[in-house]
Subunit: 266 residues, 2 copies
Amino acid sequence: MPERAIGVFDSGVGGLTVLRELRKQIPGESIVYLGDTARVPYGTKSSPTVLRYAHEAARFLLAQRVKLLVVACNTASAVALDELSDRYQVPVVGVIEPGARRALEVTRNGRIGVIGTEGTIRSGAYERALRTARSDIEVLSAACPLFVPLAEEGWAHHEIARLAAREYLASLLMQGIDTLVLGCTHYPLLKQTLREVAGPGVALVDSARETAKAVASRLKDHQLLHRSSAASQPLYFVTDIPDRFKRVGGSFLGEPLQNVTTVSLD
Amino acid sequence: MPERAIGVFDSGVGGLTVLRELRKQIPGESIVYLGDTARVPYGTKSSPTVLRYAHEAARFLLAQRVKLLVVACNTASAVALDELSDRYQVPVVGVIEPGARRALEVTRNGRIGVIGTEGTIRSGAYERALRTARSDIEVLSAACPLFVPLAEEGWAHHEIARLAAREYLASLLMQGIDTLVLGCTHYPLLKQTLREVAGPGVALVDSARETAKAVASRLKDHQLLHRSSAASQPLYFVTDIPDRFKRVGGSFLGEPLQNVTTVSLD
C-alpha cells in the first residue's frame, strides 16, 4: 500500500500549490492530480452539483488505486469532505480544516481574517471550522475575486495585485486581525504581496502548506508513508483541452508540466 | 408575431449590457433573458460542449415563443451562431459580426485592436470576421482576464482597472491601432477607463451597442418590430441560485433585477 500514489483533485490549477507543497514535504510520494478544468469553477455552482462532481473525481482517482485523497479545492472541501470520508475506504484530507487549525494555533488576539473566493466565503466553511473549535474566536472574512485571475495572469507581484490586496484587506486590518488565512489554493502565489500589505503584525496561514502537513501526518498515522528516495514525476489528468492547464500550471509549479492526459468524468 | 418577446442568452450576467442597449434602442420590445449561470464561463469549455449548451438555451427560449434570438455571449456566438441560424426558424443575431462590421466602418489605418476573454481571443472569431470582410486589415488582439472580475466587482473606474487596462493595451497601442473592439459583453462597463487609457486617437467599438442596432435592423427587415409605447419589464431566467445574478446584474443595469426565475436546462 505505501507505494501507491496520493490522489489530489481540484477544479483547475489551484490545487497545484498543494501538490508543490506535497512534493516539498514528502518528496518520496507519487502523486496523481486531477483538474476538472471542463467544469471550473466550482465556487459558483450549487452544493448538489459540486457533490456530484466530487464523487466523480474521487471515483476516478480511486480507480487509479490511490492510497489517500486530497480535496485540494475549497468549495469541494466545504461541500463534500464528510460524505467522501464516509463513502470511501481511503483517508480523505481537505484544505479547510488544516488551515483553520493552524490559524487557531497562531492567533493571540482571537481575531482571524479569512480570504477566499466568493463561493468559499459565502459557504462560511472556515468560520464554522474556526468557531466550532473555539467559540470565542472572531472571524472576519473577505471575498477577493480578483486574486485568482491575478495569480493566473502571473501578476502576483504587480502593483495591480498590491492595490487589489489593499482594497480587499482594508476592512480586516482596520478591525485588528492578527492572523490571515489564505483560504484559496491560488493565494499562496500572492503571499509576498499579501505579507507586504498586511504588515508584520499579521501572521499568514498558507492553507496549501498546512494541507500538505496534514497529509504527511495522516499517512504516518495509517503507516502509509512511502520512504522512497526517487521522486517520480506526478501524473496529471484534466477534463478539457490541456493547453491552458499546462501553461498556467507550469507557472504555478515553476517547471513545465509533463504527463498531462485529458479524460472524461461524466 | 411582432408582439412576441426577443430572447437573449448569455452564460451569465455579461449579456445584460446587450439587454440594456436593446431597451434603450427599441424600448417597445419585451425581452426574455436567459443566463446559464450554473455553467458559466463558456470561454474555457470545448466547442462541442458550448454548442450543446447553446442549443439547450435556444430551445428553452423558443419554448417561450420568442421571435428572435440574441446570442449575447462571445464564445457561443463564435462556436454556435451558424448552426443555430440553420436549425431554428427565427432570426439569430450574435455579438461578433455587428462589432466587427462597425470596426471596419470606423478604422482609417486598417489596424484594429480586439480585446476579449481568453476564450474569445483564442477562438480567433473577430479576426476571422474582420479579415473575411477585408483581407488587408491588420488585427491585433489581447486577452484581458481581469476585466470581467473588475466589472463584476464594481471597480470599473478604480485605479486598478486603469493599471490593468494600461498593461493589456500597451502592445496594441504601440502597434498603432486606431480602433478598439470591446469584444466581451462585460467590457462596456469599462468603456470610460478604456477611453482614457486608449486616448482620443482610438475609436472604441461597443459590441453590445452594435448588437442592439443589428437586432433592431433585423426586426425591421422581418417586419417584426413592435411599436408599443408601454415597455414591459424583462423576464430573467438563470440556471443556478439567482442571488449573485441579481446582485451583480443589478449593478450592470443600474436598477434592481426583478422577475428572476431559476430553471434547469440539462
